[in-house]
């Protein structure tokens, strides 16, 4: 199908974008990569009165990497983040998760920030923002503000952002010392949305014992959540930790739904399997770093 008629503006500055969003009111929507919004329009699941295309706004297309973390601008395409080695060194979950986002042709247009603003619980980057304890910066007519991930996601495809607002960047804090990460998912076909995905961070102490274990899942629950799995393996030497126990704990913490792709029970099973698998991988990575210290 085709989108219903709408009005279109492509402002050349952020201020102009906010001015048009304000003037056009409730029915106006930001258009970034269009890889989620245009399908919604063509399927007539959304009918905004006005699209405010931010692709011409300068200064939004850079990835800034410091020791504290990675700031991804609103016009950074998935492809660009995936190829950013400096970003991957500071926060390896970025590239590991982005590799699972859609297909190359979709990644060439779709943006990381758009994924987050879209707040799809089956998107990878919402759960990476949560797992890394990240935040977004939002431009509004009354000035910029920072919104922590916990305050951002309200429900499926719903954020706490109301009124004229453009998310200008997302900040992903750096991976802590002595930590390893892993990301894995099960999808029907390569590049499809995950039936279930898992991202994990394992942190060790100086004696190579498990200090902290955190996980976040994709396509599980209505909004991204972070689960602390430390208690299942706390204080255990990294080489003899019982990852299956952590997987079992994860299964009791999640609350997946049934849909046409999978039952809730199957998703819970996958949570256990993917948790065990990714934790072993992340722990091995962390252990190699501690040994190398």
């Amino acid at each position: 199908m085709k989108p219903a008629p709408f009005r279109y503006a492509d402002p050349g500055t952020l201020d102009e974008a906010l001015a048009v969003l304000s003037a056009e009111g409730e029915g106006a929507k930001v258009l970034a990569g269009g890889q989620s919004l245009l399908p919604l329009l063509s399927m007539r699941l959304a009918a905004p009165t006005t699209l405010v295309d931010i692709n011409r706004v300068p200064g939004l297309d850079s990835v800034e990497v410091t020791g504290n973390g990675v700031t991804v601008g609103a016009l950074v395409r998935h492809t660009a983040l995936l190829a950013d080695d400096a970003a991957a060194r500071v926060q390896p979950l970025l590239a590991r998760a982005t590799a699972n986002v859609a297909h190359p042709a979709i990644r060439n247009r779709g943006t990381t920030v758009g994924s987050i603003a879209h707040a799809d619980p089956s998107g990878e980057m919402t759960s990476v923002l949560a797992l890394t304890d990240g935040a977004v910066t939002v431009a509004t007519p009354s000035g910029p503000r920072t919104v922590e991930w916990r305050d951002l996601f309200v429900g499926p495809l719903e954020t706490s952002l109301h009124g004229p607002a453009v998310v200008t960047s997302a900040f992903f804090p750096a991976l802590p010392d002595r930590s390893g990460t892993a990301f894995a998912e099960v999808a029907r076909r390569k590049g499809d949305y995950a039936v279930c995905g898992a991202g994990v961070v394992v942190t060790l102490d100086e004696d190579r014992r498990i200090a902290r274990v955190r996980a976040s899942y994709v396509s599980v629950g209505l909004t991204p959540e972070v689960h602390d799995l430390t208690e299942a393996v706390a204080g255990k030497p990294v080489d003899s930790a019982d990852w299956a126990a952590a997987g079992a704990l994860a299964r009791t913490l999640v609350d997946p739904d049934t849909d046409i792709h999978a039952s809730a029970d199957y998703r819970r099973l996958l949570v256990g399997v993917l948790t065990e698998r990714t934790l072993a991988e992340a722990a091995a990575e962390a252990a190699a770093k501690v040994t190398g210290e």
């Binding site: 492509d10 102009e16 048009v20 269009g34 245009l38 399908p39 063509s42 060439n108 247009r109």
Partner: protein
């Protein structure tokens, strides 16, 4: 700041500057087919899943059903019609990927073919032709395009075939 319902755009399509006046809701796929008469770009699902509508925008593969025509104003678009190359004798030769598809029997009904050709042509042109092409790389390249006829085996064979031809060309 103008907020419009129609716009006149100028796009370089297959090397030729073209102008069109379109409603802002016109998808790039429809603009190519209906406004510019380039029906080589096929439209399957219209929500980004099948890949039949893939074209190159400034050299990168994108879904033309997930872009608005107004968004390519001032940009360069390559469709399947633009893959063949000048033979410098007044005619044209097929792109190595097109040649490989014919050679390897990589199409049956042909509906998906334009999307595969643009995607693979860009994918192969972007890589170092001397580097060995792995099966995994090929899967990643074509994994976003659906074909209901061939079963993919011959398509993958064609990618390797084209890569080998392009490697020879580069020597």
């Amino acid at each position: 700041m103008s907020v419009d319902t129609d716009r006149t755009i100028t796009v370089t399509v297959n090397g030729v500057p073209r102008e069109a006046t379109v409603p802002v809701r016109r998808l790039l796929s429809d603009a190519l087919r209906h406004d510019l008469g380039l029906t080589g770009t096929h439209v399957g699902c219209e929500h980004g899943v099948c890949g039949a509508c893939t074209v190159l925008v400034d050299g990168d593969p994108v879904r033309s059903c997930l872009m608005l025509a107004v968004q390519v104003d001032g940009h360069a678009v390559t469709t399947v019609e633009g893959l063949a190359r000048d033979d410098h004798r007044g005619g044209q030769v097929l792109h190595p990927v097109q040649e490989a598809f014919r050679e390897c029997h990589a199409l049956q009904c042909g509906f998906c073919t334009p999307g595969f050709l643009t995607t693979i042509a860009a994918g192969l042109e972007k890589r170092d032709p001397a580097a060995e092409l792995t099966d995994e790389e090929v899967d990643d390249m074509v994994g976003g395009n659906l074909c209901r006829c061939t079963g993919y085996a011959n398509i993958k064979k064609a990618v390797h075939h084209a890569a080998a031809a392009m490697k020879d060309d580069a020597r």
